[in-house]
């Protein structure tokens, strides 16, 4: 009996170490890799646009903050954060646009006030999702916000819904529906992969409810979309637009993703709004 108990204790003590495998172990033995006769992947040197591209919103914030702090060359670094292909900006053959003056005012105010964007500051997003309403293509717009918890975790959630025009045209109230109490939180980096976790989640649950945590956000437009999702009248297909909004002092920057083969690419400023002005 005593021997058995000692054996069991010894066995149970080993349980915590069962998790030591996998990550610390060398990669899985791979006969396919050996059969192919190549264990190393040959790669080309990176092209300049690959290194210059602003790949993540956190990279954008780092570049913005560095430019804001820099005395010499800070202005050029700030202007490089704008989409240079924007026809409203000065360029060969382009006419002056009021947006160019707005950009000048923004650059000047950032350099004067030395705004710094906190990495864990207010961030919101507006995404466009291609949907089909009874077989007809349309666009669903969702407003999302990134929030933070007391234990330093972050997540995205839906705060506003702009229903596809086809649904808005429908007369009558949305059908009464039951929303599940399931709560799902989108990962903090969902924005970097065009909010695909949300697209997948809408398909999984056929509901906005798990991703809409504020009850006051569930307005008439939300109810219409929820009803259409639950009944199957509306199905989601792909995320077609993804804009991020960041605050810097009295300004709000709209960031768009510009995927192209030049250094001025990746997350760049696509629009500006001065908050004090309507």
């Amino acid at each position: 009996m005593a021997t058995n108990i000692i054996t069991l204790w010894a066995f149970a003590l080993l349980i915590p170490f069962s998790g030591l495998r996998a990550q610390v172990a060398p990669p899985q033995a791979d006969t396919t890799r050996q059969a192919a006769g190549s264990t190393d992947l040959k790669k080309r040197a990176a092209e300049s646009f690959m290194n210059g591209q602003i790949k993540y919103v956190s990279d954008f914030i780092d570049r913005f903050n560095n430019a804001a702090k820099t005395e010499n060359g800070g202005e050029n670094a700030l202007r490089a954060l704008f989409n240079e292909d924007d026809p409203r900006l000065p360029g060969t053959g382009r006419q002056h646009h009021p947006y160019a003056s707005q950009v000048d005012a923004f650059v000047q105010s950032v350099q004067t006030a030395k705004f710094i964007i906190p990495k864990r500051g207010t961030m919101r997003a507006v995404i466009g999702i291609k949907v089909r309403c009874d077989g007809t293509p349309d666009t669903l717009k969702l407003h999302l916000r990134k929030d933070y918890t007391a234990d330093s975790a972050a997540y995205w959630h839906i705060v506003r819904v702009i229903a596809p025009s086809r649904l808005l045209e429908e007369k009558g109230n949305a059908r009464k529906m039951q929303t599940s109490g399931t709560r799902a939180e989108l990962p903090p980096n969902a924005n970097e992969v065009s909010f695909l976790p949300l697209l997948r989640g809408l398909d999984d649950y056929q509901s906005l409810a798990p991703f809409t945590h504020c009850m006051e956000c569930r307005d008439a437009a939300w109810q219409k979309v929820e009803s259409a999702l639950q009944s199957g009248h509306m199905t989601t297909e792909a995320v077609i637009s993804n804009k991020i909004y960041l605050a810097a002092g009295d300004w709000e920057m709209e960031l768009g993703e510009f995927i192209r083969e030049k250094e001025n690419s990746g997350w760049l400023i696509s629009d500006l709004v001065e908050k004090t002005k309507p």
Partner: protein, 201 residues
């Protein structure tokens, strides 16, 4: 009697492993960035093998399984099996979303006689950020050039893509005595976007 002691010991030590996940320090998270880069390298190799028509079907299917094993496990919602997505966006406006396994299977069955995939020394991993699920999340990015050719080597299709992969570092075990935590790296959803035009394509 022995049975109850056995169950008690299993429960006692088993639950011990589910302790709250402690905060990871920056140094440890930087190590996981490096580990993620190694996993990206593995994925790139498996993709090359899947597309390599000189290999046997069995070898290429095995490469599909190895590639899929790098991703989060399938999960069940509303009685349906779910898996991470790959969303491919082309400059001509076409967008399609498919599960990862289907994406790799499609790559295996491309109509070209010869496929050439080139990678670049430009793979990067963002900083890890904690999610409300207790896991740490990052994004890995790399560039890939794809060429599909006929038997004579004439180029039929070519594109250069940027791929962004959602990465989750899931807490696998907590070693309270040693004060260490181990994380396992899994890939999630992928966006594929072309950066054309490529000169000569």
């Amino acid at each position: 009697m022995m049975k109850y002691i056995y169950i008690f010991l299993l429960l006692f030590f088993g639950i011990g492993r589910l302790h709250a996940q402690p905060e990871m320090d920056q140094k440890r998270l930087a190590e996981f960035q490096k580990l993620t880069q190694q996993r990206v390298n593995d994925l790139q190799l498996y993709i090359s093998l899947i597309a390599d028509k000189s290999l046997s079907i069995e070898q290429r299917e095995q490469a599909v399984e190895l590639a899929v094993s790098l991703f989060e496990k399938d999960y069940m919602v509303n009685g349906k099996r779910r898996t991470p997505y790959v969303q491919v966006s082309r400059r001509n406006g076409t967008i399609s979303s498919v599960p990862v396994r289907i994406y790799f299977k499609n790559l295996m069955n491309v109509k070209f006689d010869k496929v050439e995939i080139t990678y670049y020394d430009a793979a990067v991993v963002s900083e890890f950020e904690k999610g409300t699920d207790g896991n740490y999340h990052a994004t890995a990015t790399y560039y890939q050039q794809f060429k599909g050719m006929d038997k004579k080597g004439n180029l039929l299709y070519g594109s250069r893509d940027r791929k962004d992969i959602r990465v989750t570092a899931q807490s696998a075990a907590v070693y309270a005595q040693a004060g260490k935590e181990d994380l396992k790296i899994f890939f999630g959803d992928i966006t594929v976007r072309d950066t054309v035009p490529i000169p000569g394509f």
